[in-house]
Symmetry: C2
Subunit: 272 residues, 2 copies
């Protein structure tokens, strides 16, 4: 199973921490944060890392596409363009492989999902977020997430989620749509599916730190006023996002990439 | 006593909340957050609000200069320019009044202090922060603060503070320097003064919500995992900032504005 996940959004929003928390791995061991001037010049670089992981009983060849320096506002447009170009390059490769001799052994490196990190400022989307998402929404399954959601109180978070949903609609940003639940599914599954849909956009908190309290081990963030358990549904939507990406919607994300986004690219190529 | 405080930094970093928390007043009652496109067009506007307040036994005619829409990265340069122009306009007015007939009744509307809000992302300053601060540091007493510091753990915060101090130095950004403590001061005062200097840049959390726990009332933020008491020195440097601005360093901020920043402007005018 190949699965390519793109993470987009400003530097410092906890993207690498979230990826590590999602896949319970340290995919960024060799990472170096360059000093601020370097960040400015190296920012249109795209970093691609691949790892074989096993999660929830599923073996995955996971590829993460990251942009180390998005959001030095002076060049967020270029970084966005670089992400969009990367998606197209993968489509093109697949298109060429598909029309070639070795069709049976095609490697699917197309981007199956893009997590766009929205900063938890509280007023809604910024123009830079709107511009970035509009560049990507027709090429990849776009899943907006609220970054570092532990900086929002419960009331601020619910208000922010409705604000974001309203603005996404207002700006015609097409986010990944969960397929309809099969009417034959059991009630428990339907309920879980509805809860998933109601939590969009997912508000995520991540942590590379494993804490131990009363013999129980969990990933969390220790503050002077309390401890955030990032995997607890009461504290963050991390579990929902993880189970959606790896368990319940992995197949659909790959299908929609092939049947909708890739197909749009392919028709554009053919008609040219 | 006239005191003009400028607050600069991206929209959503909690600037108005902090101002209200600092001065225990609601200076933003009439505020409306415009939708994102309006924010884009109206962002170079500067908002000035004045209120007579009494804090810590001191009566102040407080003026707050705010930029409602800084940081829609597409125009942070213009907003910065607008702030810099505002400072110059006040200097010019003072210069004209000073050389006029009614010198005794001059109103001092010069900007005495500028709080620059650094987002708590964790990697350090962004180019946009460096550019903004370099535009302002020679015209006003610049006091950088770490915004929404409750999204950083204790370890992350101390690392971030040293990172920021190092980068401020590296980019030659002149922040407001606390004057040397008088050697005749008592030990308690010297200790408090040292603690103040060691906490720079101040990490602030603000709140408009007054909570009541066990009969004790305090301003705070309620999270599912705990309650941040913004006025507690264990949770935030708010108290340090407040006492510095209003109690211990008010006079020095006004003096340095007059003797250093205004003087530089005045000499530049005269020599032209
Ligand atoms: N408040 C908060 N901080 C986080 C979270 N995840 C990561 N961080 C911190 O944010 C900083 C930047 O995280 P990083 O993952 O490197 O961000 P990236 O640049 O987007 O990849 C680090 O200090 C992290 O410890 C989170 O969920 N909440
Ligand atoms: N985590 C956190 N959120 C805050 C803090 N202060 C304000 N907020 C929230 O951040 C959002 C924006 O605050 P606001 O004061 O309007 O920001 P401004 O646009 O910079 O003036 C609101 O939802 C506030 O409740 C803080 O210290 N910490």
């Amino acid at each position: 199973f190949e699965f390519t996940l793109m993470v987009a959004g400003e530097s410092g929003l906890g993207k690498s921490t979230l990826v590590n928390t999602l896949f319970l791995a340290d995919l960024y061991q060799d990472r170096v944060i360059p000093p601020v001037e370097e960040r400015l010049t190296k920012t249109t670089g795209i970093q691609v890392r691949t790892a074989d992981i096993e999660e929830m009983g599923i073996k995955l060849r996971l590829t993460i596409v990251d942009t180390p320096g998005f959001g030095d506002a002076l060049n967020s447009e270029e970084t966005c363009q670089a992400l969009s170009d990367y998606i197209d390059v993968q489509f093109k490769k697949y298109f060429q492989d598909e029309s070639g001799l070795h069709r049976k052994s095609i490697v699917d490196n197309r981007v199956h999902c893009c997590l766009y990190f929205i900063p938890p400022y509280g007023h809604g989307l910024r123009m830079l977020d709107v511009a970035a998402m509009r560049k990507l929404h027709k090429k990849v399954n776009l899943v907006p997430v609220i970054a570092k959601s532990d900086s929002l109180t419960t009331t601020e978070l619910s208000r922010f989620k409705s604000q974001v949903l309203q603005e996404l609609k207002q700006h015609d940003i097409q986010i990944y749509q969960f397929p309809e639940c099969d009417p034959d599914e059991d009630e428990a599954f339907k309920k879980q599916d509805k809860e998933l849909k109601d939590s969009v956009p997912f508000a995520v908190s991540g942590s590379c730190q494993i804490l131990e309290v009363n013999g129980r081990r969990f990933r969390g963030r220790i503050y002077p006023w309390g401890v955030v358990e990032v995997e607890s549904p009461l504290h963050s939507d991390l579990q929902k996002l993880r189970s959606m990406l790896i368990e319940t919607h992995l197949a659909d994300l790959r299908d929609q990439t092939h049947e909708i986004h890739y197909e749009a690219f392919r028709s554009a190529c053919i008609t040219r």
